[in-house]
């Protein structure tokens, strides 16, 4: 696909009550291009998972999940067209390829727990964090908010399905599921974390935009919030899936090393959350 020029303002023929600055459109282009890539990866991941599912009903359920991700791709493309910003390959972060490769490796090994953990839990946690930020009432961009809310509902359902499936597998073989968690965490989470954490740098370096806080015209969108939302979802998901705290504590602690020195203390916050969960 030929790169399309990023508009300096929204198209004049469209009348919006919500003003969108050039920087905000650029940020939307970045976020939607990446979200769409994540959805494309999701249909490939769910596709590869179908034959690993143990019965016909769960195969059908997985095809249904893939269908919903297809719908998301179309909704994101429609949003870009409606508002008037491009969906671009150059906006897509390179870590998606690594996440997909790790999933493919798990599928080839017929490691269903690892597949579920990567797609249903880890990737869906990131998606939920992303769509929650854009679906929040604080977002005055109604078109974006509506689409994000629509997608968020499906992704929350997918996370629930994933947790239910993982719980069932843990009843059968807890060690195998925990081994899969450890493997998937070390392979996938650094990529997902880097993608979120380095988003601003990526935009700064590649697209000349400082988006730590981007002026939308009337309010601000904070990517720091997205980092926190995604990680909090990951931590709470690990807790809700009833993974062994002895394992998850170590995984959480390991995440502190992902951070660039001198930046926010996400790792410690995660550990605090985990400590609260463990006390419960």
């Amino acid at each position: 696909m030929q790169p399309q020029p990023i508009p300096t303002s929204q198209p004049p023929m469209q009348v919006h009550t919500f003003p969108r600055s050039a920087d905000y459109l650029r940020l939307l282009s970045f976020v939607v291009s990446n979200a769409r890539t994540g959805e494309i990866m999701a249909i490939e991941n769910y596709g590869e998972m179908v034959h690993l599912m143990p019965d016909t009903d769960s195969k059908i359920e997985t095809v249904h999940q893939a269908t919903e991700e297809c719908k998301h791709i179309l909704l994101l493309e429609k949003l870009a067209k409606t508002i008037g910003f491009p969906v671009q390959d150059t906006m897509v972060e390179p870590q998606w390829v690594n996440v997909r490769q790790h999933f493919h490796e798990a599928a080839r090994k017929k490691d269903l727990p690892a597949c579920l953990i990567i797609q249903d839990l880890m990737v869906e946690s990131l998606a939920i964090g992303l769509y929650k930020v854009f679906a929040s009432a604080a977002n005055g961009d109604v078109e974006t908010q509506t689409v994000a809310a629509n997608l968020l509902k499906d992704e929350l359902d997918h996370l629930e399905i994933g947790i239910k499936r993982i719980n069932k597998l843990m009843e059968q073989d807890s060690d195998a599921v925990h081994d899969a968690l450890v493997w998937a965490h070390h392979k996938v989470m650094p990529n997902l974390f880097e993608m979120v954490h380095q988003a601003c740098n990526f935009l700064c370096d590649q697209h000349d935009l400082d988006c730590d806080t981007v002026d939308k015209g009337t309010t601000y969108i904070d990517l720091e919030l997205l980092k926190m939302a995604s990680l909090e979802h990951y931590v709470s998901m690990l807790d809700r899936a009833n993974f062994d705290v002895k394992i998850t504590n170590q995984l959480m602690a390991s995440m502190a090393s992902y951070e660039v020195p001198g930046r926010s203390s996400i790792g410690l916050d995660c550990l605090k959350l985990l400590a609260v969960a463990a006390k419960k």
């Binding site: 596709g47 034959h51 893939a66 791709i73």
Partner: protein, 297 residues
């Protein structure tokens, strides 16, 4: 990364209108329902295999649009499982909602081998052409209301439309690939033919390995006259449909004729049925010299 032309609306399931009259209204005997139980269970197994095949193929598809189209095909196969299961419930015959017979697992194994090699032409040939051709034969047979019953015919007719669409999609996809690299596609056909067609033709039968035990049926009592057909007729129709499908794609007869001739080695597939010998058993011509439909008698 092309933009998709499908819309969210096209992914929504269409309403399916099927008459529900119940078992008594069909005025058919126990033997008919036993046969339906056997056939529908095998059909469901084929649909389960299809959702696995289509789903596993998604990541090999070259564009976002074709990935979405393939997920949509898998979704339609899911709908077929639900329709066939509902038919069993409504007409009160048992169905196995899983793959039971080993031939389906063998085909799955070959398909997965093609996926692992990233051999998209072989995947399309196995699923979109070979399996769909057999599915079309099956649902065409069941959709004749005069030979079955109103509800079975309606369900089969509904599924048949989707399978014809899938065959059309497969033919178009393969035409595109043939134009890019004919040798690669022909090699894929030769490989897939020898691996998959014996398994598919082996299932045109009323015998089984495990299915009758699973359904608590006496396989020996199953009789295709209940739906006014017989094994030989079905085999000939399956062969004709397969040849027609290969011709529709535009495969070279020099490649397809030897493949069709090789099918005489299948159980119950005489050289006369294949059109390679006359009634005395004398060969009419060599496979290479046969007409475009593989016959020379």
């Amino acid at each position: 990364m092309g933009q998709s032309t499908a819309t969210a609306e096209t992914l929504a399931p269409p309403e399916v209108s099927i008459p529900v009259e119940g078992r008594a209204a069909t005025q058919r005997d126990e033997g008919y329902f036993n046969l339906l139980s056997y056939i529908v269970s095998n059909a469901i197994a084929g649909e389960v295999m299809a959702i696995e095949n289509y789903s596993e193929m998604v990541h090999l598809m070259p564009t976002v649009e074709t990935k979405i189209e393939t997920v949509h095909q898998a979704k339609e196969e899911c709908k077929h499982i639900l329709l066939l299961s509902k038919l069993g419930t409504s007409l009160e015959f048992g169905v196995a909602r899983k793959i039971v017979e080993p031939q389906w697992n063998n085909i799955r194994k070959h398909f997965s081998a093609a996926v692992n090699r990233k051999d998209l032409p072989a995947c399309l040939i196995i699923q979109d052409l070979m399996t769909e051709s057999m599915a079309i034969l099956l649902y065409t047979t069941l959709s004749k209301e005069s030979d079955t019953d109103a509800q079975t015919a309606a369900v089969a007719g509904n599924i048949l439309k989707d399978e014809l669409d899938h065959l059309e999609i497969g033919i178009n996809r393969l035409k595109g690939l043939l134009a890019e690299d004919a040798d690669k596609v022909n090699d894929a056909l030769v490989w897939a033919h020898h691996r998959v067609m014996p398994e598919l033709f082996g299932m045109i039968s009323t015998s089984c390995f495990f299915l009758c035990d699973e359904l608590s049926l006496d396989c020996g009592s199953l009789c295709l006259t209940s739906i006014k057909t017989d094994i030989d007729t079905l085999k000939i129709e399956a062969l004709q449909r397969y040849i027609q499908t290969l011709d529709s794609v535009g495969f070279d007869p020099a490649v397809t004729n030897p493949l069709i001739a090789s099918m005489s080695a299948y159980e119950g597939m005489s050289r006369m049925v294949l059109g390679l010998t006359d009634s005395s058993g004398a060969p009419c011509c060599s496979p290479q010299a046969a007409t475009d439909n593989g016959k020379c008698c």
